[in-house]
Symmetry: C2
Subunit: 375 residues, 2 copies
Amino acid sequence: MVDQTSLGLRSLVKQDGSLELSLAQVTVSPPKNDEVIVRVEATPINPSDLGLLLAGGDVSSAKASGKGRQTVVAAPIAPAVMRALSARIGKSMPIGLEGAGVVTNAGPSPEAQALLGKTVSIFVGGMYGQLRKARAADCLVLPAGIKTEEAASAFVNPLTALGMLETARREGHKGLVHTAAASNLGQILNRLCQADGIPLVNIVRSEEQVQILKGLGAKHIVNSAQASFRDDLVSALKATGATLAFDAIGGGKLAGQILVAAGASAETYNMYGSSVHKQVYIYGTLDPGPIELTRGSGMAWGIGGWLLFHFLAKVGPDVEAQLKARVASEIRTNFASHYTRTISLLEALDPGVIAAYSRRATGEKFLINPSLAIE
Amino acid sequence: MVDQTSLGLRSLVKQDGSLELSLAQVTVSPPKNDEVIVRVEATPINPSDLGLLLAGGDVSSAKASGKGRQTVVAAPIAPAVMRALSARIGKSMPIGLEGAGVVTNAGPSPEAQALLGKTVSIFVGGMYGQLRKARAADCLVLPAGIKTEEAASAFVNPLTALGMLETARREGHKGLVHTAAASNLGQILNRLCQADGIPLVNIVRSEEQVQILKGLGAKHIVNSAQASFRDDLVSALKATGATLAFDAIGGGKLAGQILVAAGASAETYNMYGSSVHKQVYIYGTLDPGPIELTRGSGMAWGIGGWLLFHFLAKVGPDVEAQLKARVASEIRTNFASHYTRTISLLEALDPGVIAAYSRRATGEKFLINPSLAIE
């Protein structure tokens, strides 16, 4: 076997306060031992990828130069955002947390050889590229006949949704609240909660999103754009007993409103306010502005960051393996994802396309197919 | 033995949106079994007592009527504050979490009889009164010869300070941050951290408070009134490795600034920001306004309420007994409190005195002596 070359998307934060996106050609050496090489055919653009890809840059001012594989996109990054990026400056970063493809080469170990020609999902980063080397143990083999597009999103959203349920169980909550609930992740969470019999309060921001969730059979839907939002939320929390929320938005008042509503809906009350512990985990940054918490939920409350990688590190490899096995067996049902557009690596560098996928609009989800031709 | 009468301070939130403070006379029946009656001589006005006593009322508008034991004080409560008080409306509440006195009557059990004539500290609420019935097991017997004034504050601040250290140990933090650090509690915390060799970052708001802490031998003092505050805080966090803060203030930006500074000072960094868990517990409400958290501390962060009663319930009675035993043995050293003024129950109803003790100024601490004469 000989060295191969692979084009991959790179994100670079420069000292001068700019973001540079480009395609880099790298050499992929033959796989050793239990290594395999995957020809990547489907890798989603998740919100968590966007954060790393765009680094908070102002993509409305993005400018492209060069042609084909020499295309380079530049966009400015605000000084306040730059401060948080110091550890990234000057490092050309491969992007793409997860994806699926076909195993084209394998090292000599039996585990690697057994994967030759198989469609696998991997979750090792750097997926926005033509070839990705991985270890056989990192490959999730999906049911026979599955397309790479169906296998593309087997980790980030599925494990996040399962991680939310597992967190609720471990921390003793009876039900869940989810914001930005009509998202792809929110839809998976609805299917899982219905399957597992766990009450779920869905918070959305528009009537259109209410309808999406009704179509999925969601029972508790609260629209934050309604004047009755606060009362509706208290009623839904009372009906479900939910005391744990996962919030994708972050900035603004919503997380605090959930805590106060949970305090108001809790049955026990003493002179320090509700003594039932109420928790909000913020796992996204749809609004990067400050989080504003109004007091009034008593003293038994918490808010914090929630990151899939920290969760997996906490629960350990055995639980992680169990969760992945469930994803593999339910990939076409509970964990199905839908994409509104498939693009090539080169299209991912088009300022107009960047504007579209960076919008993160409800119902829109982009897939990159790195095997599509680049002139 | 016959019934006795006892005058005690009461706080009442009325449906019309007003606070009423008064003295109520109650009948105290003879102690049964393991009960004792304590003649209360010293009970502090802690910030946690003020919250229950004043219920967020506007004490600058307080008006007194009546004389002597018929004195009644009324103050308005803002509608927004009233909403959080619904469970209190119409309930005349006794006040005073802790205090000390002399056991004057005891039930027939040997444990109760053994306490007759002894100076004890109790932590059973309703201490702002002349007599308090308690169980023998609730009485902490202090070293011989101690004055009731020295025994008055044996629980709230000592157990809170010990609870902070215990929380740090249980959650795996190497050092602590404390805000409003020149307070009585902050001074106890400094003595304890020095005794136990735990690094402590003291955040204060004035040069006067810096001097108080220097006088106590504090090593890490950061003044939030200085322009260099942010950098000073990062340096102190780096020097100590502190990743857990206890904040008495609550409202405003400080809690968020601590999280961001802790993220900036942490040694490990990955693409999601610092992966070291950074935690702020808010245990007070010096500023009842909204808490504003700026993002920028990565995903491994948490903020939440911390209440001594929830902590004690969590650690269980054995740990609570250990902590109390330490308080008793170090009550004159590490856990010593100082008072700037001693008042009678009647003086506690004087609008001018209320204005003074509700200010919660650094270095000022009031003690009520309910055994002082009331005409």
